[in-house]
């Protein structure tokens, strides 16, 4: 009589789950800790964000993203680094609203000029050639409040070639999509606005480009 091979499937799944980290390295990229610096010459580093509230949907961007990270293509879990976004660079298309965004009631750019994410390590979810899906773990700091967060990122590597001659070194791209709850960072705004005109949660996405430096 046919018996569904639950045990075999479970064993195979367990073996694969253990095996993924062992193969968690980018194909054809030399091993070793490598420093990567974001560089706008490859492409402008900016994040987009969206506040979706019942009364208003605000689309914004945050150019001027800077930072660097250290990545070992043979040990992606050891990813570390820091990405920084200047609050004053955030745009909504309305200069008055941009000023309010940087005001004391909101992000208080005078006291906390940057939003940062300090990556401490990563968990590898999937590696496909020179592309890896990771969960970057670290400290997100916004409005002077630090919170441990895990953010999904896709890291992609491009070896130095004639195509990449305008910026020396290998090129590395990081794409991400996550959300930030304003109350987690004590961003209260003016009374009654969050939840009506400003979303309680802000969706953030973007692609960042950097190059390897020695």
């Amino acid at each position: 009589m046919f018996q569904f091979p639950f045990k075999k499937i479970l064993t195979a799944t367990a073996v694969l789950a253990v095996a993924v980290p062992a193969f968690a390295q980018l194909a054809g990229i030399p091993a070793g800790a490598t420093k990567v610096e974001l560089n706008d010459k490859i492409r402008e580093n900016q994040l987009e964000w969206l506040s979706d509230a019942p009364m208003e949907k605000i689309k914004g961007s945050a150019p001027g993203v800077t930072g660097s990270f250290t990545v070992d293509p043979a040990n992606l879990g050891a990813l570390t680094g820091k990405i920084s976004v200047p609050v004053k660079s955030m745009k909504t298309g309305n200069p008055l609203r941009d000023r309010h965004l940087a005001d004391k009631d909101w992000l208080d750019a005078a006291s906390y000029p940057n939003i940062t994410f300090e990556i401490k390590k990563a968990t590898v979810r999937k590696v496909d050639g020179v592309k890896a899906d990771l969960m970057a773990e670290g400290t997100f700091e916004l409005h002077g409040v630090k919170k441990e967060m895990t953010i999904p990122v896709t890291l992609q590597w491009k070896r130095a070639s004639a195509d990449t001659s305008r910026v020396p070194g290998d090129w590395v791209k990081i794409s991400t999509k996550f959300s930030v709850k304003l109350s987690d960072f004590k961003v209260a705004g003016k009374s009654g606005i969050v939840g009506k005109k400003v979303g309680e949660t802000i969706a953030v996405s973007g692609t960042l480009y950097g190059h390897t430096v020695k």
Partner: protein
Amino acid sequence: MKGSIAIVCFVLAAGVMGWWAASGQHAATRFEIPVETIEKDDFGDEVKTVTWKKGFELGLLDGAAPAAGGLVGLGVILLLLDRKKRG
């Protein structure tokens, strides 16, 4: 005369609200409009880029509502004055 001006005020108020409705129904006026473009990057992937271009999209709270409200108020006053004048 006052009655005609009042009607013009009401029509203008409706026009302002129509303009607001047609320009995206934003709560706040936008002076720069985000333009999203999708193009291939050097990695061969399609990526979205946001650039800002000068523009004007009327907002409700800081533009359309005060303007339309003012026009309707003026129209009502003119209408009342007109009726009063006519006796």
